[in-house]
């Protein structure tokens, strides 16, 4: 038990009645309400699980007890009990490894495998699959049951999220995540008996649903039933095409997570190696989305100040997260005048590359291929939106996730950990600390405040860190920031369920804010749907968060409006911040959508 766990434990002991239980002859006391699984963990007894997932910090606990893998024997009980969903009671005597329990556990896994494609060698999740790992851990060498296997239509209609229900094991984690945490309600069990499968209402193609493609369902799916639509092959094709000028941009959250894919400690900052890897893959220019994040901040801060001065409605909502944008379009079409009109940073980046950069370096825009390396699945959907085209040329051509990027590195035989640290290319590789923190909840609003403060007051901001908007634990954060004689009320929500609560209050006039930041994924982009799988360990996400703030602290410039490359771009090409050209290239509009 770590020190912090001990403190938590002592608090629990004070709050709850304690009950005595015996697990495999070990006696222990646990607070009322503790599950057998939790109690066993305290005495280092590992009970295998599959459907169970406890992401307590973001209020996502999957206790469906549907896989029946964690069955244990309880003295005096007629049948076996699921450890994950059975609470301890006084005098409970538990045996986790009896012949009966083991037989049932193995049978359940065999039954699951008997209705599974078992194409592990060529499966997307090979090596990352909870079912595969469980079968290996239990030493399943034979599937004794033969019979019909489920086959369903695969769905890649969104170009973002890939559904392969054949691989669904009915753990319902996606349902819990989508319905309870994100409140989008896309998934539920459909049909009965052996034909039961988790699917959208009426089995609609995903693109026709109100799915925001946040990809949190992908993050928690134990198998390859839910993954991203991969563009690796397309990117390779572009890279190998001598007529194309392929440019990479990387989101801030990649550099603090990519290392995990190569065995580095979570939270290791690998910015330099990431850039080196992209070069070795054949990208002609390696730029940083952070540059565009700085552009976003100056545009958004300008818009914010205008709205503060009575031009437009308050609060202003950040618009960096395409998943959240789709959410408000479906769920709150009456509030579409409050989000900032700024495009998301990587879309701004695409527009800048295909205009400013193309002109400056005399490259035909149609030859340029922009590949965004993102922690996100929604951005795969975002680039297909019709409004993100200039003269028939898409702002961004492909989005690949952190995971896909890691696959490309491995495929190319690059020994990632041995790579030298390299710098981004100029001029669109220049960034500030403000843009780095875009990758974490509270970061966008903090970056905006750093700029808005100075622009409103005309003074230099000495203390650039706004700790009130930081942190994973609270889904809804509030802070009051004093700028001159104004008290600005700031709201931050991460996770769409929290965003919904916030927006409902704003719509109903129950709360007022000047500015709000919303990120669809709990924790922000560091826990995005395209990040390396954390398999339920949120400490990994916390390590990424700390790394982001460390990267911010290490930056010589920490305010977006001081980014010299950004200043140069406006001077050379874009003109005034928030001006006509900026509006044409860097801003967008929103479309009311139906709820289904």
């Amino acid at each position: 038990m770590s020190k912090s766990q001990k403190v938590k434990w002592q608090a629990l002991e004070r709050r709850f009645n304690m009950v005595n239980v015996t697990i495999n002859d070990i006696k222990l006391q646990v607070p009322e309400g503790t599950t057998i699984l939790q109690a066993a963990k305290m005495v280092n007894i590992n009970i295998p699980t599959l459907c169970h997932l406890d992401l307590h910090d973001i209020k996502m606990v999957n206790r469906t007890a549907s896989c029946r893998v964690c069955l244990v024997e309880i003295e005096g009980r007629r049948n076996l009990a699921p450890a994950c969903a059975t609470e301890c009671f006084e005098g409970m005597v538990i045996k986790t490894n009896t012949k009966r329990a083991i037989r049932a556990r193995r049978t359940m896994v065999e039954l699951l495998l008997s209705d599974h494609p078992t194409d592990c060698l060529v499966c997307e999740k090979n090596g990352n699959c909870d079912l595969q790992k469980l079968a290996a851990d239990l030493g399943i060498r034979k599937i004794r049951f033969e019979g019909e296997k489920s086959t369903y239509t695969k769905d890649s209609s969104s170009g973002a999220l890939y559904r392969n229900p054949d691989k669904c094991i009915m753990c319902r984690r996606c349902e819990t995540m989508c319905n309870e945490v994100q409140t989008c309600g896309i998934y539920s069990a459909v049909d009965r008996g052996f034909e039961t499968v988790v699917a959208p209402a009426f089995n609609l193609p995903m693109i026709d649903t109100q799915c925001t493609f946040c990809g949190q369902c992908v993050s928690v799916c134990p198998t390859a039933a839910l993954t991203e639509v991969s563009y690796v092959a397309k990117v390779w094709e572009a890279l190998h095409d001598p007529d194309k000028f392929v440019i990479a941009q990387t989101a801030p959250a990649i550099r603090v997570a990519l290392g995990e894919e190569f065995g580095l400690e979570p939270g290791t900052i690998v910015t330099g190696k990431m850039v080196a890897a992209l070069r070795r893959l054949g990208f002609r220019k390696v730029f940083d989305t952070d540059f565009a994040a700085d552009v976003t901040i100056v545009e958004e801060a300008k818009e914010f100040i205008e709205r503060l001065n009575g031009k437009g409605r308050l609060p202003i909502l950040t618009s960096c997260c395409p998943s959240w944008v789709k959410f408000i379009e479906h769920q709150f079409p009456e509030l579409l005048d409050i989000p900032s009109t700024c495009k998301s940073p990587h879309m701004m980046f695409g527009a800048i590359v295909k205009t400013y950069f193309a002109e400056k370096f005399n490259i035909l825009p149609e030859k340029i291929v922009v590949v965004s390396v993102m922690p996100c699945i929604a951005k795969k959907y975002e680039i297909q939106r019709k409004e993100f085209e200039e003269n028939g040329i898409k702002n961004v051509d492909y989005v690949i996730t952190t995971r896909e990027f890691a696959k490309m590195i491995r495929e190319a035989g690059i020994d990632f950990t041995k790579l030298p640290d390299e710098d981004f290319d100029d001029p669109l590789g220049e960034s500030t600390g403000a843009s780095v923190i875009f990758g974490v909840t509270g970061g966008v609003i903090e970056a905006a405040l750093r700029t808005a403060y100075e622009w409103i007051t005309g003074e230099t901001l000495e203390k650039v860190e706004f700790h009130g908007v930081r942190g994973l634990e609270d889904g809804l954060k509030e802070a009051t920031v004093k700028i001159k004689d104004m008290e600005l009320k700031i709201g931050v929500a991460h996770g769409l369920g929290n965003a919904r609560r916030l927006l409902e209050d704003i719509r109903d006039g129950k709360r007022f804010y000047h500015a709000i930041e919303i990120m669809a994924c709990p924790g922000g982009c560091i826990d995005g749907g395209g990040q390396p799988y954390h398999h339920g360990n949120l400490d990994i996400v916390r390590a990424r968060l700390n790394a982001i703030y460390e990267e911010d602290r290490n930056k010589p410039i920490r305010k977006s409006h001081e980014n010299p490359a950004v200043i140069a771009m406006y001077k050379e090409y874009m003109g005034e911040i928030g001006g006509e050209k900026a509006h044409k290239l860097l801003h967008t509009h929103y479309t009311p959508r139906e709820r289904i």
Binding site: R68, N79, L80, L111, E148, G193, F194
Partner: protein
């Protein structure tokens, strides 16, 4: 003119299917033609139970019981009996053995051993008229409870009566009430489980159709006892007549102040709403039922917490079955001792059974606990149809098992049936004779469970499917001895591992037939034959040369022309090409064709 005669016409679904509504009309028309409408009343009652001989018309006060009444005999009853006082002999029940006519209901063997408590008013009163219920002591129990008894006293009476849940589980009703009473909450609910779904079962439907007020009264008493103000009746949409009569009953009870605010001028308020289910068998499971009422998917959840603690809308909820509620008013009126004097040591009172299958008197019976299977099947049921040999009786529906002849003298109660690997269930009782293949019967019930599984847990969703596939293999003659071992192991594991009652009992039909009829399984596997001649794939048709007269009829009907032979000479079946359609078997008038 004073009323001198009443004609009670059965209005249960069974008799209505045999045109009893028309019989009722004809009776009314004929009586009107004779201008007797002021002194003779015709009314539609609930089910008499003797469905085999429906439509039933009972003439009171003469106490004459007419069976199989059609339009013509209805006219005759008016012409002869009503007008002239002459009994219509040919429509009086004839005892098959003695050929004696038995005009009184109580002297008919089908009714002789019955004690009707839950069915006390079925076939006696007009279920659509609350005054008739009141005239039969209706709502007296509620009045007594509200004016003379504390909730604790009510619970005490129910506890001492020994009443156990009639829906299948057999949990002591009083204890359930007490647990719900003890759960602290200002809002509590009563639910009446009318999601009767066992194949061949119609106990609850008959009570709702024949005496809906007894259920409402039972619910109100339960509401008073546990401290609930509101009740739901969850009834399947396939029971339109029951729903219709319930609606009438509820609105009449509200009009008379027997439901609603301040019932009978007391402080107690209680109202009832009908929830119509879509007919999923699983919704009979109480947690699934609660999910369904709440608008969710009818899917069970893990217990504990039990509904008595956390139920409908997260409030303490008491769920009882229709028949359980119908038993409550008589218990209150006649006392706990009266009720507990009927039945066995651990199972008190009576049980309604729906007698079906290969038995002469198909219908609904209410018998005291402790009666033997033999008494029900032979004395009430009149023995096996067509003089065939009894093979087994299936009780408890898809959750129950098959009981063979050697246990026919078992006194029926919850515990003896469980000990035989079957269960009381809600009261379905299906009789099987020598022509039934027990492997096929097991397959039938398992098919039902597979169809009705909610698909949530692995054990039930995949496990039952795999069992069914093994059974298919066996009945197709492809089974091996290892399959039998596998079948047994899988069945035991599913019982032990499933989430809810459906999965935990679905292997019972397989296990009980394997226990009592293992030789039939062996015959299917080793000899590749079906002793009962049911499993088509295993059948072989032969012509017995001694019996064949060479009439050529079989050869003419054979659709694949594999029967050869000269006229007036013995014919032969070429089994190579035989498709086992059975046409020859059915056509032969000399019994010369046999199948094994």
């Amino acid at each position: 003119m004073p009323l001198r005669m009443e004609l009670l016409v059965c209005g249960g679904t069974g008799c209505q299917a045999s045109n009893s509504s028309r019989v009722l009309e004809v009776l009314r028309e004929s009586i009107k033609e004779a201008n007797l409408q002021d002194e003779v009343r015709v009314l539609m009652t609930g089910c008499f139970g003797f469905c085999e001989k429906g439509p039933i018309v009972k003439v009171m006060p003469d106490n004459i019981f007419y069976v199989e009444v059609d339009e013509e005999s209805a006219r005759k009853i008016v012409r002869e009996h009503v007008i002239k006082g002459r009994i219509v002999e040919e429509k009086i029940y004839k005892e098959p053995e003695t050929e004696e006519r038995l005009p009184e209901q109580s002297s008919i063997p089908f009714y002789k051993k019955q004690i009707r408590i839950a069915l006390r008013n079925c076939g006696k009163i007009d279920p659509e008229n609350i005054n008739e219920y009141i005239a039969s002591d209706g709502y007296m129990a509620l009045a007594r409870v509200l004016t003379e008894m504390t909730p604790e006293e009510v619970i005490d009476v129910v506890k001492r009566s020994g009443l156990r849940g009639r829906g299948g589980g057999g949990f002591p009703t009083g204890l359930k009430w007490e647990a719900t009473r003890k759960s602290k909450s200002d809002v509590k609910y009563i639910i009446c489980n009318a999601d009767e779904g066992d194949p061949g079962a119609f106990m609850d439907r008959s009570i709702l159709e024949g005496d809906p007020h007894s259920v409402l009264e039972g619910m109100a008493i339960a509401g008073y006892a546990i401290g609930a103000q509101f009740g739901y009746i969850y009834v399947r949409a396939e029971y339109p007549l029951a729903i219709h009569r319930l609606r009438i009953a509820i609105s009449q009870a509200r009009e008379m102040g027997l439901l609603g605010k301040n019932i009978l001028g007391t402080n107690f308020s209680f109202d009832v709403e009908i929830k119509i289910g879509a007919g999923a068998f699983i919704c009979g499971e109480e947690t699934a039922l609660i999910n369904s009422i709440e608008g969710g998917r009818g899917e069970p959840t893990v217990k504990p917490p039990y509904p008595a603690q956390v139920g409908l809308w997260k409030k303490p909820t008491n769920i009882n079955n229709v028949e359980t509620f119908a038993n409550v008013p008589p218990i209150i009126l006649n006392g706990a001792e009266w009720f507990s004097s009927i039945g066995t040591e651990k199972s008190k009172g009576t049980k309604v059974f729906a007698l079906a299958g290969k038995v002469n008197n198909v219908g609904l019976v209410e018998v005291p606990m402790g009666i033997t299977l033999r008494e029900i099947i032979y004395d009430l049921g009149g023995g096996i149809k067509g003089g065939k040999k009894f093979k087994a009786v299936q009780t408890g529906g898809p959750s129950g098992g098959c009981i063979p002849a050697e246990h026919l003298d078992t006194p029926i109660d919850y515990d003896t049936l469980n000990a035989l690997g079957s269960m009381m269930g809600s009261g379905g009782m299906i009789v099987m004779d020598e022509d039934d293949c027990m492997v096929n019967i097991a397959k039938f019930y398992l098919e039902f469970s597979c169809d009705e599984s909610c698909g949530r847990c692995t054990a039930c969703r995949v496990g039952n499917k795999r069992m069914l596939e093994i059974l298919n293999k066996i009945t197709e003659g492809k089974g091996e001895m290892e399959d039998l071992e596998m079948l047994k192991e899988l069945a035991e594991t599913i019982k032990d591992s499933s989430l809810c009652g459906l999965g935990q009992t679905s292997p019972n039909p397989v296990l009980s037939t394997m226990k009592f009829f293992y030789d039939e399984y062996i015959a299917h596997v080793k000899d590749k034959s079906c002793p009962a001649g049911v499993c088509t794939e295993l059948l072989k048709y032969y012509i017995i040369p001694e019996k064949c007269v060479g009439c050529t009829a079989c050869a003419k009907v054979c659709p694949v022309n594999v029967i050869h032979g000269e006229p007036r000479k013995v014919h032969v079946i070429d089994r190579e090409g035989c498709i086992k359609c059975g046409e020859c078997y059915r056509t032969c008038r000399f019994g010369a064709i046999t199948r094994k």
